[in-house]
């Protein structure tokens, strides 16, 4: 194995003089007193390897010895990851001792002594390849497939496989043989280098279904596809994290991986505290049972922050290969980009815009490309839907991370400062935001079939109303309330109706926080009906009191369980208010 010696230290960038071959992204360990600090090679020049250390380098000295591992940064995959809290390098945070994170303490992501009920799927004599299902174990309520390791590149014949029964993850559950007769004993554990995508699938079709998030402004106006990608840029405090948390609670996915990347520790603590208590609205089980949290908060080492999103994505790919519907939420991918910038600046590389590395757009787009809907080799389907938060510097969307992400992600949910300031949460701007999927024919067909005939037209109709309302509002602001025709006021109030009743959603209300698609369809139909109704007004001053009452009743409906007696009571009230002025 190659060895080296520390030559220089600038913050967490360490120059290592090496005595043999090293490769890009190779992991090495720096000896420091009685501990070892993990680092990754990020550039090689002559016999100097530039490494980024995943820990504080305080006290490190030139002359410290370094051992290379001949491996890239990898995750350890197997049953037992669900409900775990990992750091960016997949260390199990709960296994760490003491109050503080200790340098050089790396813990096992899996529980090697745990026992699992294994049921074989494949049988002796079967031909298998990477990603094929050998058997399964129940993990919480997921049918966790034990697969041929993704790193095994050949075709193999199963020589033996254990019968159903209880096994440790370290037990050999099958032996496979390659063409040359080499035998490989397989356990329930496998490893994968996080920076590479797992490609053990047949094909990746265009997404053709939507994924319900429970958030009306997304599902109704700009739906995201299952296996799709989206991102939420927004200035600080506009609601990116609240939105991600509420999607993580309500989205219809089998498994949620939350990557808290360079953000606040308290926000993660909130997940730790709430998820074991909160029910999954679809299954009634606890949310934590379908969740994996990867947290590398802003005060944790910067290099591990970059690693954290890859760790999260690799875990998603692993579960996708089991035929599951996985949702990955990353907050915030800007912090990951900033980690890249910090390193690139320390290496004195030629900077791109805003001092980010030149290849930032490529890095981001490669990452987003790992999401997607797949047909597995056995014909089953699996998906990773990915939604990333972006934190644009100065709230300016014309900055490199936002622009690069815009090229990579298909849904753009732009959080607006103005909406946040006026407490219109979620602050997704209905005019600037878009979902490319809404233009997909496959998705349109899916929506029209699964929600109601003509649904897509209705969605566009609602978007029109919002846009025309905004135009009318601008005119009113310029010309004054009585300087415009009455019709302008009516347009404005119709858009206000859709805005306040559909777009605005109270994430902290037990009922309103999540809307089923059935309910969303009902409400949109109801509102469009009101928008299509002609009302009688003498002067613009009559609109505000009338619409305030209409909106108020509709908002009360939002707070009631769908189709409950209360809900219907408000609906009846609504009807009588409407009757007052219906032409």
């Amino acid at each position: 194995m190659t060895k080296g010696t520390v030559k220089g230290i600038i913050s967490n960038l360490v120059y290592v003089e090496v005595d043999g071959p090293v490769f890009q992204n190779e992991i090495c360990y720096i000896d420091f007193h009685d501990i070892k600090l993990m680092a990754e090679v990020i550039k090689v020049a002559g016999n100097i390897a530039y490494t980024q250390v995943f820990e504080s380098t305080r006290g490190l000295k030139p002359g410290n010895t370094v051992e290379f591992t001949d491996k890239m940064l990898q995750v350890k995959l197997g049953p037992g990851m669900l409900s775990k809290n990992y750091d960016g390098l997949q260390d199990d945070l709960n296994k760490m001792e003491g109050l503080y994170l200790k340098r050089g303490e790396y813990t096992d992501p899996l529980d090697e002594d745990s026992i699992w009920k294994f049921t074989p799927i494949a049988k002796e004599g079967d031909t298998v390849m990477a990603g094929d299902w050998l058997g399964s174990v129940p993990e919480n309520w997921i049918d966790h497939k034990i697969m041929v390791p993704f790193l095994m590149e050949e075709k193999y014949r199963i020589k033996s496989i254990v019968p159903a029964g209880d096994y440790k993850i370290t037990d050999t559950i099958a032996v496979v043989v390659d063409d040359e007769g080499n035998e490989y004993p397989l356990t329930m554990i496998q490893y994968w280098p996080v920076k590479l995508p797992i490609r053990a699938y047949q094909s990746k079709p265009r997404p053709f279904k939507t994924l319900e998030t429970g958030i009306r402004t997304i599902d109704t106006l700009n739906p995201i596809a299952e296996g799709g990608t989206g991102f939420t840029p927004g200035p600080f405090g506009t609601g990116k994290t609240v939105l991600q948390h509420s999607i993580s609670q309500n989205a219809e996915a089998d498994l949620i991986v939350v990557a808290a990347c360079g953000e606040r520790a308290n926000e993660v603590v909130e997940l730790f505290t709430e998820f074991p208590e909160l029910d999954d609205p679809r299954t009634g089980r606890k949310l934590i049972e379908r969740t994996i949290i990867i947290c590398n908060t802003s005060n944790m080492p910067v290099a591990a922050r970059e690693a954290s999103v890859y760790t999260a994505m690799s875990i998603c790919e692993y579960y996708r290969s089991m035929g599951l519907k996985v949702l990955l939420l990353a907050d915030s991918t800007s912090r990951w980009a900033q980690a890249l910038r910090e390193m690139s600046n320390r290496m004195e590389e030629l900077p791109g815009p805003d001092a980010y590395p030149m290849d930032l757009p490529a890095i981001i787009s490669n990452f987003y490309a790992r999401a997607g809907y797949v047909y597995l080799n056995n014909g089953q389907i699996g998906s990773i839907t990915f939604i990333g938060a972006v934190s644009p510097a100065g709230g300016n969307l014309k900055e490199p991370v936002t622009e690069s992400t815009k090229k990579a992600a298909r849904c753009f949910y732009s959080l607006s400062q103005e909406r946040a300031d006026s407490k219109r949460y979620p602050a997704i701007d209905p005019i600037d935001s878009y979902s490319k999927y809404l233009e997909y024919e496959e998705i349109q067909d899916y929506l029209n079939q699964n929600i109601s005939a003509g649904w897509v037209d209705k969605v566009y109709k609602a978007k029109d109303i919002l846009l025309r309302g905004k135009e009318a509002k601008d005119q009113i602001n310029i010309l004054g309330d009585d300087g415009v025709p009455l019709d302008y006021h009516s347009r404005f109030w119709k858009s206000e109706l859709i805005d306040r009743v559909i777009l605005v959603q109270d994430s902290f209300d037990p009922v309103d926080k999540s809307s089923s698609m059935k309910r969303q369809a009902y409400m949109l139909n109801l509102l469009l009906k009101i928008c299509n109704t002609e009302f009688d007004f003498e002067s613009y001053e009559e609109l505000q009191p009338f619409y305030s009452r209409v909106i108020n009743v509709l908002v009360q409906m939002n707070y009631q369980s769908f189709e409950s007696d209360k809900f219907k009571e408000y609906e009846a009230q609504l009807e009588s208010i409407l009757t007052e002025r219906r032409v």
Partner: protein, 440 residues
């Protein structure tokens, strides 16, 4: 914080900039402390035998033959109960004429708390100021700055807030504090008779700017001692973080780092996060709450300093002089405490969240009406009422000199709602309307 344990002496400086110098030396550790010509310095970069140090007092008069003595350890602070009631400089040396502190020597800027060992903050901090308690409730373990223009009375407001809270210890980290403000804090603490729960680390405008870089870590190391060892609720006041950032940029620019936005170092976010993330609630009851001041120029919050701060802290408070009432208020429109949702309606009356958002919304309507007025448009009846509401609201509830409990703030707000609006305009859930909207 100077030590004498194990020292190596070098005298060959190869480069000197305004804030840093480079010396040929071996066996030196990263972030190690040293003196250069008698001035404290810290290692920031090592390439082979070239060691770069940032010199806290600046490099004026430092010669290429200056004596460089390495201490073999990073900056430290001695912690014990003796810290209470004492004033120190940025190095942790007493400036109040009292004795040196005896206690355990800890490295400042130490490791992060394992997130799974934290507890979700849920203890409300009452201040009697409606701009905080009603609209932007603070919680122990929170970190939040005042975004203030340099001419606003932020130090006074912060001292008021600190004194009204029930913190066990108040730790003041002053960076580039004017001597007047320093004395103001000192006097307010003395007058309030709480000096024995104050600890201060002070860098004034008279002191060299780079020294400031030590202040937050000093203050927070002291805070960790009391929060962890003594399970105390510690409030840390950091003022002015903008001057701290300026010092950061001086050092990084001298080290030829490529500056990113507003000539701040690309690592500004991580640098600030390391400080603010020390705010924590422990399961054992100890906590560290950070209230900071970030001065902004011309209200520009897109500048890298307030921008990065906003992305790290849990909300921000804006001071505004309300010209209608001639008093300072905490601006309801732009201020935000992110952690308020953890306590309002749970630790306070159930109608609190709805009353808060309704009043903020109605107040925003008043702001729109004002814009209309300024643009020469006629006001509707609703606009007029919103304006009147907003004035009363500022005067009777928000003004910083009003000191009442949350229940009273809520009752007063309901009274104003009823005075100026219809139930529909207020738009609060029926269950609360039934309870608090008085029948005529």
């Amino acid at each position: 914080m100077a030590g004498t344990a194990f020292q190596k002496i070098y005298t060959k400086l190869t480069q000197i900039t305004k804030a840093t110098c480079t010396v040929q030396a071996t066996g030196v550790g990263n972030e190690e402390l040293a003196t250069v010509g008698g001035r404290l310095a810290q290692v920031v970069k090592i390439i082979d035998n070239k060691v770069t140090l940032q010199i806290f007092e600046g490099t004026e008069g430092i010669g290429t033959d200056a004596e460089v003595i390495f201490y073999g350890k990073p900056p430290t602070l001695k912690v014990s109960e003796q810290l209470a009631g004492r004033f120190f400089n940025a190095y942790g040396d007493p400036i109040d004429g009292g004795p040196e502190i005896e206690g355990e020597e800890v490295e400042i800027g130490g490791p992060s708390v394992n997130p799974v060992r934290r507890r979700d903050p849920s203890e409300l901090i009452a201040t009697g100021i409606a701009g905080i308690d009603l609209n932007n409730t603070l919680v122990t373990g929170q970190k939040i700055p005042f975004f203030a223009d340099p001419d606003q009375p932020y130090n006074q407001v912060m001292a008021t807030v600190a004194l009204r809270t029930k913190a066990d210890k108040i730790i003041l980290g002053g960076m580039g504090l004017s001597n007047d403000d320093y004395l103001y804090y000192k006097n307010s603490f003395e007058n309030a008779g709480v000096i024995d729960k104050i600890i201060a680390f002070i860098n004034t405008t008279d002191d060299p700017p780079v020294e400031r870089l030590l202040v937050p870590d000093m203050a927070l190391s002291a805070a960790e001692y009391f929060a962890i060892q003594k399970n105390e609720a510690v409030l840390v006041l950091l003022t002015d973080m903008t001057l701290y950032c300026d010092a950061l940029s001086i050092v990084s620019n001298r080290m030829d780092q490529i500056p990113s936005k507003d000539s701040m170092p690309g690592s500004l976010y991580s640098d600030l996060a390391k400080i603010y993330e020390k705010a924590v609630q422990f399961p054992t009851g100890g906590s560290i709450t950070i209230i900071a001041v970030t001065t902004i120029s011309g209200g520009d919050i897109t500048h890298a300093i307030p921008d990065n701060t906003g992305y790290i802290t849990e909300g921000q408070l804006y001071l505004r002089r309300d010209t209608d009432i001639g008093k300072v208020i905490i601006d309801p429109a732009r201020s935000l405490s992110r952690l308020k949702t953890k306590v309002i309606g749970k630790r306070t009356r159930a109608d609190h969240p709805q009353v808060m958002s309704a009043s903020v919304r109605l107040n925003a309507d008043a702001m729109n009406a004002r814009t209309k007025l300024e643009n020469g448009f006629d006001l509707t009846d609703y606009d007029q009422r919103a304006l009147q509401f907003s004035r009363d609201y500022a005067e009777q509830i928000l003004a910083i000199d009003v000191n009442v409990d949350t229940e009273e703030m809520l009752d007063k707000t309901w009274a104003l709602f009823q005075k100026y609006f219809t139930p529909e305009e207020v738009g609060i859930k029926d269950e609360f309307m039934k309870l608090y909207w008085k029948k005529e």
